[in-house]
Assembly symmetry: C2
Homo-oligomer: 302 residues x 2
C-alpha cells in the first residue's frame, strides 16, 4: 500500500478523488455521481470509504484533503468561509470531521466569502490556489467560466474581490426550459451573430428581455436558424455579463481558467471587447491546490 494521501473535489453533483502515492505520483483518479447535493451528512463518510476502499489501510490514517460543497452548511461538516481580502484558505483553516473509520483523516478546506456585494465561492478558491502555486507572481483578473462564472481580482497572492454571475445557468434555463428551446436547438454556431450580439448587449444591456423574445419571433417570421439564434442567445447573455463586469477586465490582464467550448467562448467574447486574455487549462488546478494544502500538512509533521 503506497497511498500517501488523497485529494478530493466534492461538488454539488460530482465527487472526484485522486489517490496520491508516497513517491508523489497519482496512483488512481476516481469519480462518482454521488455529489454533495444528494447526500445526508451521515452518508459522506461511507460514500468516501466505499470509493477509496482499495487504496486504504485500516492500520494507518491516510490524510484526505477535500474542497468544494462538501464543506457547505448542508455538507459533511461546515468549513466557515474565509473573508476577502485573503489568500486561498490553507490547511490550518480546514475543518476536521471525526470519522468512525480508522483509515482516514479528513480535512475540508473552507470557501471564500465577500461581504459587500455579498458573494461566495466553494471549490474555485482551491483552483485559484493551484493557479497561484504555478504562477505565484500573477497580478490581475481570473475568470472561471461555469454555471456560475467567477470573476476574481488577484493581487500579491490574495483574492482581493470577486463577483459571481449566473450567465451559464440563465443560458441553460433559456435554451432548455423556455419558449426559446426550439428556436435555439442548433448544434452549430455562427461567429458573426455571436459578435454582433455581444456588441448589442454591451451597448444597450437594458434590451435583453425583448431581444430574447425576438429570437422566437425571428424563427417564426424570418426562419432564423437555430445555430444563429443559439449564438445570439449566448452573445446577448455574455455581452450583458461583460457590460456588468467591465471594471474586472477593462485594461486588465485576464486569465481564463477552463477548457473546451465554454472557455473558448469567453476568450472570443473578451477578445471582441478588446481585453488582454490568456487561457489556462483548469483541469489540473484543483489537484495542484489540494497538493499545496498537503504540503502544509507535511510541514506540520516535520
Amino acid at each position: 500500500m503506497n497511498t500517501a494521501w488523497i485529494a478530493v473535489d466534492w461538488g454539488t453533483s460530482k465527487l472526484r478523488a485522486w489517490v496520491m502515492g508516497t513517491d508523489g505520483r497519482e496512483i488512481a483518479a476516481l469519480s462518482s455521481d454521488q455529489g454533495m447535493g444528494q447526500l445526508a451528512p451521515e452518508v459522506f463518510e461511507p460514500t468516501l470509504v466505499e470509493l477509496l476502499a482499495p487504496y486504504l489501510s485500516a492500520d494507518k490514517r491516510a490524510p484526505v484533503i477535500a474542497c468544494g460543497m462538501v464543506g457547505a452548511r448542508q455538507g459533511w461538516a461546515e468549513a466557515p468561509y474565509a473573508a476577502v481580502p485573503c489568500a486561498p484558505p490553507g490547511l490550518s483553516e480546514a475543518v476536521r470531521p471525526s470519522t468512525s473509520d480508522s483509515s482516514l483523516a479528513v480535512h475540508i478546506l473552507p470557501g471564500v466569502k465577500q461581504a459587500d456585494p455579498p458573494d461566495v465561492m466553494r471549490g474555485e478558491e482551491t483552483q485559484i490556489a493551484g493557479f497561484l502555486a504555478q504562477q505565484p507572481d500573477f497580478d490581475g483578473i481570473l475568470c472561471l467560466p461555469g454555471t456560475h462564472t467567477k470573476w476574481v481580482q488577484i493581487s500579491a497572492g490574495e483574492i482581493v474581490s470577486f463577483r459571481t454571475v449566473m450567465t451559464g445557468e440563465l443560458f441553460a434555463l433559456l435554451s432548455q426550459k423556455s419558449v426559446l428551446r426550439h428556436s435555439v436547438s442548433g448544434e452549430g454556431w455562427d461567429d458573426s451573430a455571436f459578435e454582433a450580439a455581444i456588441n448589442d448587449a454591451m451597448t444597450s444591456p437594458q434590451h435583453l428581455t425583448a431581444r430574447l423574445f425576438a429570437l422566437r419571433a425571428g424563427a417564426l417570421l424570418d426562419g432564423l436558424s437555430p445555430d444563429t439564434a443559439r449564438a445570439r442567445l449566448s452573445g446577448y447573455l455574455l455581452g450583458l455579463e461583460l457590460a456588468g463586469t467591465r471594471p474586472y477586465w477593462l485594461g486588465q490582464q485576464v486569465a481564463i481558467i477552463g477548457a473546451g467550448g465554454l472557455a473558448q467562448r469567453y476568450e472570443a467574447a473578451l477578445t471582441i471587447v478588446g481585453a488582454m486574455v490568456q487561457v489556462t487549462d483548469g483541469a489540473g488546478l484543483t489537484l495542484a491546490g489540494l497538493t499545496r494544502a498537503y504540503a502544509e500538512l507535511q510541514g506540520q509533521d516535520r
Copy 2:
C-alpha cells in the same frame, strides 16, 4: 336552443368558450385544459364539439369565432399574421377551417406581426380589439402583463408598433428552476426592496446576472429573507424591462390590461418610475373583441 354564436379563446395551455344567446346574453362559460400546445390538427374539431355539444344543433351551423394560438402554424388552421401598422384583425381576415360536423362554422382570427424588430402576438390583438371597442379614442400605450408581456403603441385605432419581453418567463424559471429557488421561496412581499431593486436595475441594467447571484449569497451570508429576495428578483427583472421599454412609457398614457397581483406589480413599478398609469381589468376584453368580430358577421348577413 337559443345559441346565437360561440366565442372561443384557445391558447397554448387553455381553451375557453362563451356560448352566447340570441338575446345577446352569455348562456354558458366553459373551459378546459386542452390547450393548443397538446393537440394535433385533426383533434381540434372533436375537442371543441365535445365541449360545446349541449349547446349545438345539427340542423344549424353556429358561428364560432376563435382567437389565440389555435391559429398558429401548429394549430387547427394557420391564420396568417396581419402586419403592423394595422387595426386588430377582424372577421374578414379570419381563416375558416372546414368541419365535418354540421353544427359549427369556425372563424379563426389572425395574430399580428412586426417585421423589425421581429415580434408576434396571437390573442392579445383580440383583447386590444375589445379595449378599443370600449375606448375607441384611446391614444397611447397598452401594457399587457403576462408570461410574455406586450407593450403596444396605439394610435387612431391601430396597433402602430409593439414589443414583447420575456420578464414573466424569466421570473418563473429563476424562482422555480434555478439555484435561487430556495432563496426566493417566500409568499410575502417587501415593497421597499422591490422599489430599490427597480431603481437599481433602471440605473445599471448590466449588473443583472451578478445581482441575481447576490440573492443567493445574501441568503447564505446575511440571512436575507425569502420575501425580500423574491421582491428584489421581481424588481430587478421588471426594472430591466422598464429600462428597455422606456420609449413606450416615458411621458405616455399607459393602460395596463390585466388584473390581480401581476397587474398591481406593473402598476407599482410604473408609478415608481413616474409614468401615468391606469389599470383596466382584462377579464372581459377577449370576449368583447370576439363580439366585435361577431358584429361584422351580422353585418355581412344583412
